[in-house]
């Protein structure tokens, strides 16, 4: 053994951790090498001196200070709230949260499948209950009825369909567009695509306009602009003889209905609007078929007329011919009427003007106090209901995040705990 190797064993030897074999080897070397022996002896002596250094007197204030800290700590740990719910409630809470999360996730599918919305909104001045978007499935069902009853002759059997969308719009015919398109689509279902559809379209509007006469004139212009005419009009006055509102019914080319409605809506504040379509396709084509039949009958009657020899014959054929021809004319008239009805859509506009200030004693804000209180009450109740619903919904939003946070926090605490255990030896 060389001196270098021996010296490396010194500390282990001094501290008594050297194995018996190594000790033997080392002692063999020490017997031969005086230098190493001296080196080891002095190191042993040093170690001995260090180990036998006298105790350091503990300052008198050490114990009282320690006692104070211990009392403080045990008091703090008794009053500490966090450890309680961390130890006692953390697990059940986490499990519960995970369960609720799973249930919420499972029921999400059901919620998504059920898209029936109903909104109730309250305006500050006038409470307008609007029922937006009639479920589409209903419309399709209706059109199915129409197509099934297609062979019927009675015009009354033609299904009357109406889609109402009473909305409080500040202007613009978006709702009309939507309604018209939807109606067109539903009517096309079940019909031969080659057959031209005959639909009578009606639209109604309630407008608040600044000037009654001006609006009336402009609506008349719209009628003529879109190849139509004013059907009727009326107006009413207030106590002082001023025109306060009125009614105008116009007709415009059916394909310009949407544009015309947009133009009219732009004249004032739309307070309500409606749209209806009457499908008369079956009636029209039924009439057409009957007309053809009568025409054929007319032709054969004319042939019989040529062959008629006696006055008696001529007269009876003449009577029959007259009956057929009057039928033909009646049917032609009906068809013209239907064509005209479907070619031109009608728009009914009711006009109102805002109440004007009067010189007399006015109730002003007190006039509709009752209804406004009611409106306020309903508004407040709705606000509360909505608020509560939103709160629950918010809970739904927050829950997964909360679960995540809980998991992260407890995971982190666990890691910290494990680390602490590492730092402080187990025993």
């Amino acid at each position: 053994m060389k001196c270098q190797e021996a010296k490396e064993l010194f500390p282990v030897f001094i501290d008594g951790f050297l194995s018996p074999e190594e000790t033997q080897e080392l002692q063999m070397h020490l017997g031969e090498c005086q230098e190493c022996r001296k080196d080891l002896e002095s190191l042993q002596e040093l170690s001995h001196i260090l180990q036998s250094m006298p105790d350091i007197p503990i300052p008198p204030e050490f114990k009282p200070a320690l006692h104070a800290r211990l009392v403080e700590i045990s008091f703090a740990s008794k009053t500490e709230v966090i450890p309680f719910w961390q130890r006692r409630l953390a697990k059940p809470l986490t499990i519960a949260a995970v369960f609720v999360f799973l249930i919420a996730a499972a029921s999400l599918g059901n919620i998504l499948g059920n898209t029936n919305h109903e909104t109730i909104s309250i305006d500050n001045t006038n409470s307008v209950m609007s029922n937006s978007a009639m479920p589409e499935s209903d419309m399709i069902a209706d059109s199915g009825v129409v197509s099934n009853s297609g062979a019927a002759v009675d015009p009354g059997l033609a299904e009357r369909k109406s889609i109402s969308s009473d909305t409080e719009m500040a202007g613009g015919g978006v709702a009309f567009d939507a309604a018209t398109t939807a109606s067109d689509e539903s009517m096309s279902a079940g019909y031969d695509q080659n057959v031209e559809r005959k639909v009578i379209r009606n639209a109604s509007l309630s407008l608040e306009v600044p000037e009654y006469q001006e609006a009336f004139d402009k609506i008349s212009n719209v009628a003529t602009q879109y190849q139509g005419y004013v059907v009727s009009g009326s107006s009413y006055t207030d106590e002082e003889g001023n025109i306060s509102g009125g009614y105008i019914s116009i007709r415009v080319a059916a394909n310009s209905l949407d544009t015309a409605l947009e133009n009219i809506s732009a004249l004032g504040k739309v307070q309500s609007s409606g749209f209806s379509g009457q499908d008369v396709t079956t009636q029209y084509y039924d009439n057409e078929a009957r007309l053809k039949q009568y025409r054929v009958q007319e032709q054969s009657l004319l042939k019989i007329m040529e062959k008629a020899k006696t006055v008696q014959d001529i007269l009876s054929v003449e009577t029959e011919l007259t009956r057929v021809r009057s039928e033909i004319e009646s049917l032609e008239g009906q068809m013209r009427y239907l064509t005209e009805l479907t070619d031109l859509a009608s728009i009914d506009v009711s006009l109102t003007t805002p109440a004007k200030d009067t010189q007399g004693v006015s109730l002003g804000d007190w006039s509709d106090l009752g209804s406004r209180i009611a409106a306020g009450f309903i508004s407040s109740i709705n606000w509360l209901i909505n608020g509560f619903a939103n709160l629950i919904i918010l809970g739904g939003y927050v829950l997964p995040i909360l679960v995540l946070i809980l998991v992260v926090v407890f995971g982190w605490k666990r890691i910290v705990a494990v680390r602490k255990n590492k730092k402080i030896p187990p025993q």
């Binding site: 500390p11 282990v12 080196d39 190191l43 040093l46 001196i49 105790d55 050490f62 211990l70």
Partner: protein, 206 residues
């Protein structure tokens, strides 16, 4: 005795402060010694010793009695001292003459002269003070290993665990630490002949 300690541990775990103080009193002196040797002054020693005992108290509920209570307490003490020394070292709070010993084993600085008179006859207290100055002068990493070994009597494995270093490092630091202290004493031998007589009995190289 063992039964008493067991009883005291049980009561302490339930939060009995009196029982805990009684329990720790048997180890208090050694904890304080270690803290003082490590920190080199009374103020820090008191703080660290108190901190270590508080840690023991807080961690007591986790003590499973698979090892001796003493070993466990000294381990916590070692950790507390290590943390404080490393904190101070990082904060450059550490004292005057440090970095005397590097891992390359070189002594780069002389420790402060203690202004003792030559040929002075040293009492036990003076010897202790002188040695403490030497210990303080060691690089903190060496100081820790030395104190844990010589004061607390921890095994190499326990020191390695406490300081997160390898067994080889522990061994080499103890070896170099002792040699460094001895070289220092040899260098100062003219001031402390009494001490030299003890230490340098065979250490003086020819």
């Amino acid at each position: 005795m063992a039964f008493d300690e067991y009883d005291l541990i049980c009561r302490s775990q339930k939060g009995d402060i009196d029982a805990f103080e009684q329990l720790i009193s048997a180890y208090q002196q050694k904890i304080y010694n270690t803290a003082y040797r490590m920190m080199g002054n009374y103020h820090d020693a008191s703080d660290v010793a108190q901190e270590a005992i508080i840690k023991v108290y807080k961690a007591l509920s986790g003590f499973r009695r698979e090892a001796s209570f003493g070993t466990w307490v000294y381990h916590i003490t070692a950790n507390t001292c290590r943390d404080e020394i490393r904190r101070q070292y990082r904060a450059h709070e550490s004292s005057l003459d440090e970095c005397i010993l590097t891992d390359s084993g070189e002594i780069t600085k002389e420790i402060a002269d203690c202004s003792h008179m030559p040929e002075q006859v040293l009492g036990e207290k003076e010897v202790e003070e002188y040695l403490q100055t030497l210990i303080n002068a060691l690089n903190p990493e060496y100081r820790m290993v030395m104190v844990l070994r010589e004061q607390l009597g921890l095994s190499y494995q326990e020191i390695a665990d406490s300081l997160d270093i390898s067994m080889g490092t522990v061994k080499s630091r103890i070896n170099r630490g002792r040699r460094a202290l001895r070289e220092k004493i040899l260098a100062d031998k003219e001031h402390y002949p009494d001490l030299m007589r003890l230490v340098v009995r065979g250490g003086e190289k020819a």
